[in-house]
């Protein structure tokens, strides 16, 4: 279980204007500014939940993950993860959690990943039979067999990330902090990593807190999302509910089988996109049955798809609103 109460993390940042004079002045006198990276955030995540942690760049996501994994000391507030105070970094705590940062690596650069795994087995004190079984399971799920003996520096980004995930999970942590685990990966690899995370969550009843710039990761993996902006929590709840509240209209996409003018399409609903014969309309839930009837009946369209609005659009609206709110834009 993860619990944060009024979690606050402020950083003191050295500020100086550009120019040589300012650089020299800063040698003797420095101006500091306090940046509120995380500002009174509270949430509770139960064992086994998969939660997406979203926000624009600089919203405080990585800072929060670092506090939760024990790398940063909170400025104020209470944090408990698996009944431990994270920043004490007790061995019993470190054995239960893992932090995967897409931008940082724990693999030993010049040695094959199997050596990092052996190192982790030793320092986490994983019994040999459990280690062998977990490694077999991870090798199978992530298709690692051909990669284990290659020096890390010779692996592609995607291969390295798979090996990175395995290194992070060999001690079978029950709380996973995943910071952009699919960054820079191609679509097939993103899907593979997502499937793997879901499978690990099921097998070990593990709690997953995930940040990602790829909304597909979040939609596919996380029934619940927590959204922060400028260090403040602006939403915590069910993903579908959020979409429904923010934008209840559906996106109806189809391919025309006969020519049709834009104004005829707009009679059905607002036209969001037209690319040749491919069309996307915005339709309210109330009008949906009638519109579908017309599309399939009289207009005989093909490849009909009904979808929720993209999460990116919802978030864009949310962040826009939040930035416009009077209190939120106050200097930190």
């Amino acid at each position: 279980m993860i619990r944060a109460r009024e979690l606050t993390k402020h950083f003191k940042v050295h500020k100086r204007p550009p120019g040589l004079a300012a650089a020299l002045r800063s040698l003797v006198h420095r101006n500091y500014e306090v940046v509120k990276a995380v500002d009174g955030v509270s949430f509770t995540i139960e064992r086994g939940e998969r939660v997406g942690f979203l926000g624009p760049n600089g919203a405080g996501k990585t800072t929060t993950l670092k506090v939760l994994s024990g790398l940063l000391h909170p400025t104020a507030g209470d944090v408990a993860v698996e009944d431990h105070v994270p920043y004490r970094r007790q061995a019993s705590f470190l054995g239960k959690i893992t932090l995967v940062m897409g931008q940082k690596s724990q693999l030993i650069w010049d040695l094959p990943p199997s050596e990092t795994y052996a190192l982790n087995r030793a320092v986490f004190g994983v019994p040999r039979p459990q280690f062998d079984q977990t490694l077999r399971e991870l090798t199978e799920l992530l298709e690692l067999a051909p990669l284990l003996g290659k020096p890390t520096r010779q692996l592609s980004l995607g291969e390295r990330m798979k090996c990175e995930l395995a290194a992070a999970l060999l001690h079978r942590p029950t709380t996973l902090f995943l910071d952009e685990p699919t960054i820079g990966l191609d679509v097939a690899m993103q899907v593979a990593i997502r499937d793997f995370i879901r499978s690990y969550n099921h097998r070990h009843d593990a709690t997953v807190l995930l940040t990602s710039h790829y909304m597909d990761d979040v939609v596919a993996l996380c029934p619940r999302i927590i959204v922060i902006d400028q260090g403040k929590l602006i939403h915590d709840g069910d993903l579908r509910q959020l979409i429904k509240t923010m934008d209840p209209d559906k996106r109806v996409s189809f391919t025309l089988t006969q020519p049709l003018a834009d104004d005829e399409l707009t009679r059905l609903g607002p036209l969001l996109m037209r690319d040749g014969q491919r069309v996307t309309l915005r339709i309210t839930e109330r009008e949906l049955p009638a519109v579908i009837g017309r599309l399939l009946g009289g207009l005989k369209v093909a490849d009909l798809a009904i979808e929720d609005p993209p999460l990116e659009d919802i978030l864009r609206v949310m962040f826009g609103k939040h930035a416009a709110a009077p209190a939120a834009g106050a200097p930190a």
Binding site: F11, K12, T63, K66, S69, G70, L71, L72, H73, Y87, R89, A91, L94, G95, I97, T98, L99, M101, Q103, K104, S105, Q106, I108, D110, L111, E115, A118, L119, N120, R121, A122, V123, F124, G125, P151
Partner: protein, 269 residues
């Protein structure tokens, strides 16, 4: 605490094994290291020339040969580049990953550097050893006790050196470029450890200062045991000083580390 120690001890064989694998993987660095550790040989050439005609301040040519070959051997066994590695780990973010492993980085770094010693000295040590025995033998200590004590003395020198470099490396938590401090540190080390010349040959105020600073106990102490006849009191002072500085330096290293990690926790990495 006990379980942490037990876990660390259990992990040590694997840490050593991986340290060996890393040393072998970094072949180029390893060669460069051996080449850069040849300064005592250059100093040897210089000083034997000075003492060619007549002994200089009590040192004959053979004394200088013995002194600098012994220095070369101790330096090969005790030198390490951990401050550079720690600085790089802080900058690259690898330090964060180290903090999430349930083993104190002091032990993790120590194991990987100890593992490197046999490989690092594999080429240079036998050559220096043979030269020492063939050319410098008359100037070596003949006291079996002194020669035997040189072994724990080298071990203590390694600990003091390692701990001081760990403290320097921990400065990377405070300043982005901790390597500037390393350069300053190495300048002091070169002067006060006997790396450039026997401490006895330096002005008396430097020799007096050197007796109190840690550097002598990182290099000169085992070299003195190997090359100078020492009485009981001198032996006790030398080894007592080494022991005291080892304990103090480990204390300093862990204190700087703790302060550094607290800062890291406060400002992020």
């Amino acid at each position: 605490m006990t379980s942490a120690l037990a876990r660390t001890l259990r992990a040590l064989p694997t840490l050593f094994r991986i340290g060996v694998a890393e040393t072998v993987a970094y072949r180029a660095e390893f060669l460069v290291w051996i080449l850069t550790a040849t300064q005592p040989l250059i100093m040897m050439g210089l000083w034997t020339r000075v003492a060619h005609e007549a002994p200089f301040a009590g040192y004959s040519s053979a004394d200088f040969v013995a002194y600098f070959l012994a220095t070369q051997i101790v330096r090969l066994l005790t030198g390490n580049w951990i401050a550079w590695q720690m600085s790089e780990d802080v900058q690259s973010g690898a330090m964060a990953m180290r903090l999430l492993r349930p083993i104190h980085p002091f032990f993790a770094y120590a194991a990987s550097h100890l593992a490197a010693i046999p490989f690092r000295s594999a080429i240079a040590l036998p050559i220096a050893g043979v030269l020492l025995l063939s050319s410098g033998a008359p100037s070596l200590s003949h006291d079996p006790l002194q020669l035997a004590l040189a072994v724990p003395s080298i071990a203590l020198a390694w600990f003091t050196m390692f701990a001081s470099m760990f403290a320097l490396g921990s400065l990377a938590f405070f300043v982005t470029q901790a390597l500037g401090f390393s350069a300053l540190y190495f300048a002091l080390y070169s002067l006060f450890s006997g790396y450039l010349m026997p401490l006895e040959l330096l002005p008396s105020w430097i020799t007096t200062l050197a007796a109190w600073l840690p550097f002598r106990f990182m290099l000169s102490a085992p070299v003195e045991l190997l090359t100078r006849p020492l009485d009981g009191a001198q032996l006790a002072r030398l080894l007592g000083g080494q022991l005291a500085w080892t304990v103090a330096m480990i204390g300093i290293a862990l204190a700087v580390w703790r302060a550094g990690v607290r800062r890291f926790e406060a400002v992020g990495g």
